[in-house]
């Protein structure tokens, strides 16, 4: 799966969790939660939705890596590829 495809999957989930947010202006290098209104529970929802939709398990000790869109995508690429 390409970087673009992974990014698309992540945006799909974020727009499901936070449907009122404008995701088109997201800067990939900056912390996501500073750009759009996602609180801690939204973050939990995103992690659980990745598990539900894509069977991707994210251990809690890795949550700190999921800060910027770039960080999230880079983290998830090998996980998506392992499933392919």
């Amino acid at each position: 799966m390409t970087e673009e495809e992974v990014r698309g999957k992540v945006l799909e989930i974020i727009s499901f969790i936070a449907p009122d947010e404008d995701l088109s202006t997201i800067k990939d290098d900056e912390p996501l939660r500073e750009q759009i209104g996602l609180d801690s529970m939204d973050f939990v929802d995103i992690v659980l939705e990745l598990r539900k939709r894509h069977r991707i398990q994210i251990p809690e000790e890795d949550y700190g890596k999921l800060v910027s869109m770039k960080g999230i995508v880079q983290y998830l690429i090998p996980k998506f590829q392992a499933k392919a």
Binding site: M41, V44, D45, L48, R51, K52
Partner: protein, 247 residues
Amino acid sequence: MVDYVGQRVLVTGGTRGIGAALARAFLEAGASVTATYACNDEGAASFADGFDEELRGRLSVVRFDVSDRGAVEDFFTGFEADAGSLQVLVNNAGIRIDGVVALMDPADWQRVIDVNLTGAFNMCRRALQLMLPERYGRIINVTSPAGRIGSRGQANYAASKAGLVAFSKSLAREVATRGITVNCVAPGFIETEFLAGVPEEHMARYLELIPMGRFGSTEEVAACVLFLASRRASYVTGAVLDVTGGA
């Protein structure tokens, strides 16, 4: 009667006392029930044997200590693989180790907090992973009037129950927009072995304090839990329902 057909219910401390009555009530209402217990294998076996074949087919009995976070994780890993979903969690597991504060063994203080309060935290934290993606869940925490008014010789128990109320109300706020309700049921004096250790003269005094003049039954507590855990109780969250005969 409320309908629980197709629902999965988890009752901690579900093989004795109030927990056993809850497990039975959910089974009779059509649910698949997992009842947990910490140490009494014989009691758990005799509890399971007390059901007819149809109800027994929908009951699992599992042993682990809710205060042990690793054991809770191991349980849920297996539960998720077998059952896949969870609609209702009842944190009923609780212990008492009584004593006045001035003489209370610090280990006894900690043990009661660990099981009664931290156990519920451990179970809720993990159960949310099943409930949140489905945008539905019912969490019932069994507390006690002692958590509101205190109880001489039970500062650890009372503190754990008061903590459980505040925990429930906080969690209720966190998950309110996600179809999950979190409520407490606070039974007063209920006819179970929990009361068995209480001396005769204390029992007479307790009865005088209860406007209804009698102890409650486990079925009367179960009726309240079954309402709060049902789909119909969809606008009740962060509440504490006293089941005390007016005390």
